[in-house]
Symmetry: none
Subunit: 243 residues, 2 copies
């Protein structure tokens, strides 16, 4: 189980081992795991090394500790992997749906004042504007407009955006996507949305405006989406601030 000769740190081996036991269900929620001293003896490693492994698992939410009692398995967060900043493609796959798109338009336009401000570029700087109907299992899910500064996200083609824009940005352009802020509101479908989403007029839609940032804080993407309210629910987790 633990190989002291391995180049992989011992604490990391122990971490992966315990993680496996939890994810496979061998260790059940609220069940106590062996004490730090037991691990230490069993594998002939220092207690501090055991603690380093357990600390990481506590930070990752796999375990929790209780003074004087022991260390216990946390409830599995089912949605654990749903988390984080994902593209539409990634999002749908996680939901077990097959994503696809119908391209409405794909052009380079000069940035309007409002758009320029949000992307932190000068007015009339060229930006890609991509309008698409996003589908899941071949049913219309959302109407989406994506804007990207052309000098930052270079050489976009229809083929690239049909595969995976995020993958292109991260792997081909070697940029690191860091975070995004989203504004989410409810509205009634406008006429273009009624047409493209194939809903009745008066139907509710979930509007999501996302601004995405690279590691250094540069905004690289503004996405406006209108999701069919009857098919889409936005799910996320948030932490309580430590005061």
């Amino acid at each position: 189980m633990i190989d002291k000769q391995s180049p992989i740190p011992i604490y990391h081996q122990l971490e992966e081992y315990i993680k496996q036991l939890i994810e496979s269900g061998i260790l059940k929620p609220d069940e106590a795991i062996p004490s730090e001293r037991e691990y230490s003896e069993q594998y002939q490693i220092s207690r501090m090394t055991v603690r380093q492994a357990l600390n990481n698992l506590v930070n990752d939410g796999y375990l929790y500790r209780q003074k004087g009692r022991g260390t216990f398995v946390n409830k599995q967060k089912v949605e654990q992997k749903l988390q984080g900043l994902t593209s539409f493609t990634e999002d749908m796959k996680e939901r077990g749906l097959v994503p696809s798109s119908r391209l409405i338009s794909f052009e380079i336009i000069p940035a309007e004042p409002q758009l320029a401000r949000k992307l932190d570029i000068k007015e009339n700087t060229p930006v890609y504007e991509i309008k698409r109907v996003r589908m899941a299992d071949n049913l219309p899910m959302a109407l989406e407009t994506t804007c990207l500064p052309a000098n930052l996200v270079k050489g976009l083609t229809e083929e690239i955006i049909n595969k995976s824009l995020y993958q292109h940005i991260e792997e081909k352009l070697s940029l690191t996507i860091s975070e995004a802020t989203q504004q989410i509101e409810a509205s009634i479908a406008k006429e273009t949305e009624v047409n493209h989403l194939q809903v009745e007029s008066g139907s509710p839609v979930l509007l999501i405006v996302r601004t995405s940032f690279l590691e250094d804080g540069t905004p690289f993407e503004l996405v406006k989406s209108a999701y069919r309210a009857d098919r889409y629910k936005f799910v996320h987790t948030m932490q309580r601030a430590t005061k």
Copy 2:
């Protein structure tokens, strides 16, 4: 600076000290802080203790490390405190609005199957059910139903919920609120919502269902809210997962 006789752990004292230097701007972004061995010698404490302090600051995003180079100050996250899990009261205050409430009902009821499942309690366990119209600057903002297990969040009174439920839970009951998952969708106002929110029939509303958890993963709160779409937008930030 460091008091070895204090009941406060040394690593925590060092942590607070460094945090202060960063927040006050004495240590600037990308500036190197003293090495672990320097701290260790200067304050006559073990290097492992220094590492414990620095580890926590790295996890909290105050510092970053580079092998063979040193430990450096991270850029300040401006929105750091805007983020995270907040109560309606806290949310409105952050938006510069004055929060208030009109109580519709406040009772103890037996948990229905669906509610029991979400709160991870047995069917018919008593729960507090609180229905309120939430106001901002004296205008109706949301219709909200909160359910809390009565044996967990004990001794609730109308006065407490009018002040601050989260403060009561954290300070009086000494429970640690950890995180929440939310489901957000768009809908059309139902009749009760039309009446309480004073909107026209057919108006869109933003539905938010929140389940909140304590540190050990116990759910302690289920909140269903219907926000007026013309007055409320949900804003949040999310991180790209590190693959």
